[in-house]
Amino acid sequence: MIKINLVGNPNTGKTTLFNCLTGAHEHVGNWHGVTVEEKRKVYKYKDKEIALVDLPGIYSLTSLSYEEEVGVKYLLAHNDELVLNICDASNLQRNLYLTLGLLEMGAKVILAVNQIEKKQICKIDYSKLSELLGIPVVPINPNSKEGIDKLNDTIVNYQTSQMHKLAYLKNLNLNNSVFSAKDRQIIKENNFLLEFCAIKLLEKDKRLFEQFGLTFYDVEENSLEKVAEARYCFIDEVMAKCSSKRERVYGYSRFDKILLNRWLAFPIFVGFIALAFYLTFFSVGAWLSDGLVFLLDKFIGSPLVALFEKIFPGSWLVSLIEVALVGGVGSILGFLPQVALLFLFLSILEDSGYLSRVAFVFDDILSKVGLSGKSVYTLLMGFGCSTTAVLTARNMEDKNSKIKTALLTPYMSCSAKFPIYAVLGGAFFGAKNILVILGLYFLGVVVAVCLSFILEKTFLKSKGQTFILEFPPYHSMSFKRILFVLWDNVKLFLVRVGTLIISMNVIVWLLSNFSFTMKFVPNSGGQSMLESLGKILTPIFAPLGFGSWGLVSALLAGLIAKEVIVSSIAMFSGASESFLYSALQDPTSAVYFSSPFAVVAYLVFCLLYFPCLASIAVLGKEIGKKWTIIGCIIELLVAYVMAFIIYTICLAGQKLGALKLLLVLGVVILILFSFIYIIKKIKGKKACHYCKNCDKNCK
């Protein structure tokens, strides 16, 4: 079996090539750092097995962020395997820097030059490039499959004969003699070249020396610069010999004049998001959803119930099917079109290259609250699914920003929470529900921003945030890819509903229909298990206006998956839509809301309390137990306090009248702001740390 590792700069199309070679369907996007962990797959070419490993993007063999560390460590530990280095043809100059690093390591490199950009910025003489670098070079295009067979042939027939020494290494005056006998032993055991270690010494790459237990020696001050200059000098020579003059700058487009305009950038972004949300939740998505609900009920739900009634008349099984499966699952399944559309819009955003621009535009403001422009990606993905979004926080440069970004992601209202707003809000507010839903999404963002500000000022101050982000060119999405994204998300949703949601519904149904003595409650009377448990907790939630056991136990069930909140409420109320509305207003029912304000409070609580268990597990893995627990506690507190405040304000507004209420709120806000202003005044300004010689206070 041939083992080969796929490496390259961020966003050069590694995963696209990986998918193309292996037939996998890994997530890709036009953004820096979509792949955050290694992925492997074996494929066959001409009866040979090839094991390909896709690594996160790196700039050199020295890692600066967590996702880079994964790639670098893996490469160093597997330095005897083949390396498939992918470069972007339009940005070859910068991409070759990594190639040189790999060659210094003595890696067996095959260079694949990605020509995915339709308009070439410059012409490249590939055979010349191959000759100058001493490695095979294959131009490819993963979209049209051009050059893929040639690349596979090159991998299968790889021979080291072509390799030669890099000319610029002579000028670096590498000192191999510093290494002790013990070091030499380690270097040999790990299959490194002495020269490579000498270069790494000049680069002051302490991490590598620690990883392999080598002794680190001091080197001259400007050695880092010398190495970088030598490499770029060589690259300039190579580029001069094998490429034509560049015609355009990579990444900057004429659209950017408008999209990045100081004053237009924000309205344009908000406009895009608003349009996507409107299409998803209120127009196209809602129509499709209504249609689907109708079809499901007519052709699957009703016949199924009728069938079971015929076979087991009067049995509790009929109730299980009718309430838990048809009613409960049906209430979720209807949201399929909306979830699929939402993910489609997120992928369009991700693929277009616009996200890097958004990151640039928002970096300013986000840096004020301790986040960086790069957080935008993670937070936007949070509107889809927090669990997968949290993983992308890895491409933050410093640890505290990473923790903050990951902790705030659950406040972005994920796609699983939308059904709750739609069903409960829809029952009480009808057409005005659009405002409630928009308000909830907005509230999530505002709470996240405020919380980030507080964390930045207290426990999680960001250290050494840099925000260095490349601009990719814009891409449009092919029709094939749109269909693929839609199908992929439909499949994921159906699997989720078919496994997790169905089993949760059955569990909730059993708990809410059987008592602790295992009696079927609707026949025998008494309290079900869930009712007894829920009633212990209800007093806590009474101040928020929703003190009935059904609502509280729905919140508990929602810990597994947020959709279960809706299906549970649907089950408790008798499972049909007309029942739902009357049940919500009936003081004797299990899902009684004392007023429409209580519904708002409930929705706010659902928005802000714990993320689902899957997210908590990922958070625990990514940011550690301590911060996950703290994050969950904060979430619970924030949810309770916000729900209480909003409920109280609404009630007060009803009693006092809107005008007086506004006055009171205005005074409170004024006091808060003056308080913050005074604290800021006392703290004063600091000088910038680079100009130590100047006395002026920089802004």
Partner: protein, 78 residues
């Protein structure tokens, strides 16, 4: 001293050196990205509050915080 933070938009400069006060991490990344001595560089635009800038270097586009840009010392291009 003239640095990338206070460079004029649209004008081409030469990189003179990287500040000795900048952290090793930033210097390392800047070298990797091609900020070598004598390289020409241009600021394309600034963000709303001016804390983030967009530059062109070695034929590609890159955005940076001004905290990083401060570390890049420039000379006038003749």
């Amino acid at each position: 001293m003239l640095n990338l933070k206070n460079a004029k938009i649209g004008k081409i400069y030469n990189i003179k050196s990287l500040s000795e006060y900048a952290s090793e991490k930033i210097v390392r990344r800047l070298f990797e990205l091609g900020f070598t001595k004598g390289q020409s560089i241009k600021v394309v635009r600034k963000s709303l509050l001016g804390q983030t800038i967009l530059i062109e270097i070695r034929g590609y586009t890159l955005s940076l915080r001004t905290t990083v840009a401060e570390a890049v010392l420039l000379g006038e291009k003749l």
